[in-house]
Symmetry: C2
Subunit: 491 residues, 2 copies
């Protein structure tokens, strides 16, 4: 057997990196910063995609596909947008290779230089708004509610599997509206969909909030976000939804005839979540034995391991197990009966623990005699003996219970690691001693925000949507403040 | 209303281009050769993806994701592979933009030059086999059955929506096996899956065959293909499945310990279909009024158009229609009740004809009185009056009938336009007068194949898998031949 994982408590970072690789989620590729998403990891991503896609479609969105490449001039049309992305763009400059006449092997053909360089999309606002110009003439063409599942590239210098990669997979919604109110409502609706997905599928509680101007998306007037807490107390931004105002409409001259028969610029939103969610899922729940997956996203929800000697015993066990497998599948539960004789039960137990399978059933000769089956939960590591006759009902209920328990545990952890802090010394101290979310007053200036970041590496994660008005003074400057914000160190 | 489509019989090419745009399938983007797939077109592609993906998974394949970028040196490792793709590669050379200090706007930062250029994948054999090297040690790791849904880029000089675009969407399967026999069986299995998909879902009959050495995939030992006939008599290659032998295993040093405890190179296959299938779907069935979609791929299978004056009449009709809509949805049929009062019924009829909706129901006051409903088929343009009480059953059956009819019509067309030809003059003549598939003898040499292409623009589409041994002489050289092959002009 391979050696144990690094301990989460000893080296969180190494624990994460190793776990992602060992559990067959992803690995680094030969291309700097680009990952390979392995089949097991990809099957979790497919479940995420399906759940999100269903929610997008239920709220009236349709999928479409826009080009991978963006002409350099397009990226430059929205000033703050190019400012935000220029530093990390993969640039296509040529369209052909050839054999080096001087024997240098295959080289770029200098005669095949593009007239205008193409940027591999870091996000698609520019290419999409240049298209919307032709699609929108009147208020009757609005709202336009479109989503795209795609790969994007941002040439990050320091990368980590799922959390920060040069290429990643995501969805990006891009909508166009006749009024500001509608666009704001869309921005808020999509944030709520992301929050629902995080909480109900990923079992990760999130804080819904708005970014400070400093942390806004390049080109947005307002950025909403959901922020999750990882088990090391750090924050992870799990999804963003941007109110774009009329910025991209103006940059690409997208006007429409409104109901009053007047020309006006269109209002926009964009919103996205990415394979980063895979990282959040791992970091939020897993332990020293491996992944802990919430049942709703687990590729295998139930594994059944027979304890047997010889074919006859296996046949007896199979006779009992096969109807259970069939019935579970009928209920829409993904189940694997691992009857291979190549590995020992102990090896299999460790393997399915590593892979985060929520429920493991084990059944041997004594169970057959007693009409029982052993049930092991991945989340609590509890084992119990169940009656085999009612095992299907028991499992259906247990999966719900596990989903809920994983969420509650994460919520409890967040509660335990969130502090209201009102003076600077405590602020600095808690960040080092018990890192987590800090609810504190801030004077509303970018200067203070940057100073705090410089001194503590903590950033303002968001201004929570449910923050209440409260008189106070800024944790750093002592200036007056009317609401608390959430500070944390972040991924 | 917008003007009529170009006539298929008068200008097939223009008819196709206009139809793809007007039916909201796709349009050209600002980036040369890259298309925008519009929501209606993308929803057909999603249906194709779902059907194919289900078949891949049923046969034991899993999805994964590999990097968009391929280091130039990787592409060069398999000699014939780089030869095949070097002439049409998008090359990334830099990773940053900056503001021109001389005021030239945003420019490529010359200091951010990559040490090794990256190629935007034209296909992923090289990057995947370099990964497989680490995944495969022993026969126990085999077979490895992986598929990827992705975008790829081939810098084509002349492009056409769906048929030939610089960027396109596709799936590419890449499998690894312990024996040659297994790999060949996989190659054949996947070809059969493509053929089944084309015939049962797209309603397009295909010829299953093998390519001549000239037309093989760059790096394959054998290329299998399915060839479909379009309504202008031209052939369209709709899918390919490649037996790679040990070529990529050797190029990337992928060895395994076989059951005899000896090191051997792994055997490979790769196979793919792309958004090109969208073009085939349009070209195979559509007519001068617009798309004709087979029910299994139609985003809207049934549209119901009420003929009404005023809200009261609409309410009466809706009362009758709503339960039908509900029952159809329960049966898994996608149905749209278009009760908008913004357009006339005539306008709606034309719109849904253009969009290829297989069944249109119309219901007005007289129908209500009579307990009837008008049913119009898109494929035959026949209208009939049906009893409203049994309309759901009728539609379920009708959709099956339409699916079958569209296939049979395409099959009949292919039969009518396939000729056995045994002399050169007839060969040349029929290509101009009644283009289609020509079954003819060929002497088996690349020289003859190329000469025929040069003289007639016809290529050998495939050597059909079901070709029978038959003594004959080559249509061009008069040399002996033992089997007929299929010639045609092609897309």
């Amino acid at each position: 057997m391979s050696k144990a994982l690094p301990k989460k408590s000893e080296n969180y970072s190494e624990w994460y990196n190793e776990l992602v690789k060992r559990a067959d989620l992803a690995e680094n590729s030969a291309v700097r910063g680009c990952m390979v998403i392995k089949p097991y990891g990809y099957s979790i991503w497919e479940k995420m995609q399906r759940a999100l896609d269903d929610m997008f479609k239920e709220t009236g969105h349709q999928n479409a596909y826009f080009p991978l490449f963006i002409p350099k001039s397009y990226l430059s049309k929205e000033a703050s947008h190019v400012e935000g992305f220029a530093k990390e763009c993969a640039v296509v400059t040529h369209y052909r290779l050839k054999n080096d006449p001087n024997g240098g092997g295959v080289i770029v053909d200098p005669e095949a230089k593009l007239e205008e360089e193409l940027i591999v999309r870091p996000t698609s606002e520019t290419v999409i708004w240049s298209t919307y110009k032709n699609w929108i003439q009147s208020y009757r063409d609005l709202p336009l509610l479109i989503n795209q599942w795609a790969n994007v590239v941002r040439w990050e210098m320091r990368t980590r599997l799922f959390l920060r990669t040069a290429e990643f997979l995501w969805q990006e919604g891009h909508t166009a509206h006749a009024t500001k109110e509608e666009a704001v409502a869309e921005t808020e609706q999509m944030l709520e969909i992301y929050a629902t997905f995080a909480e109900e599928f990923m079992a990760v509680p999130v804080i819904r909030g708005r970014k400070t101007p400093n942390e806004r998306f390049a080109g947005a007037e307002d950025t909403y976000c959901i922020e999750a807490m990882m088990q090391d107390g750090k924050a992870l931004q799990a999804g963003t939804s941007h109110f774009l105002g009329q910025n991209f409409a103006k940059a690409f001259d997208v006007k429409f005839l409104n109901k009053e028969n007047k020309q006006d610029f269109v209002w926009g939103t964009s919103w996205g979540v990415s394979t980063r969610l895979m990282g959040a899922l791992v970091m939020a729940h897993s332990d020293d034995e491996g992944l802990v997956l919430p049942p709703k996203l687990a590729p295998i929800q139930v594994v059944i391991v027979p304890i047997f000697k010889g074919d006859e015993q296996l046949a007896q066990i199979s006779e009992k197990v096969n109807p259970i497998v069939k019935e579970l599948k009928k209920r829409g539960i993904s189940v694997k009966f691992d009857n291979s004789d190549k590995q020992s039960p102990g090896f299999k137990f460790a393997e399915y623990e590593l892979k985060g399978v929520p429920v493991r059933l084990a059944i041997g000769a004594r169970d057959l005699a007693n009409g029982t089956i052993e049930v092991a939960r991945r989340d609590t590591k509890q084992k119990a003996t169940y009656q085999i006759d009612s095992i299907v009902e028991s499992i259906v209920n247990l999966l719900d219970e596990i989903q809920e328990n994983i969420y509650n545990k994460a919520l409890q952890f967040r509660t335990d690691n969130t502090a209201k802090i009102d003076n600077w010394d405590d602020f600095v101290k808690i960040l080092d001693e018990k890192p987590g979310f800090i609810s504190a007053h801030w004077d509303g200036t970018s200067e203070t925000e940057e100073k705090i970041k410089e001194l503590t590496k903590a950033t303002i994660r968001c201004i929570p949507l449910d923050a209440v008005d409260e008189e106070g003074v800024c944790i750093y400057s002592g200036k007056p403040s009317s609401r608390r914000v959430i500070f944390a160190r972040a991924y």
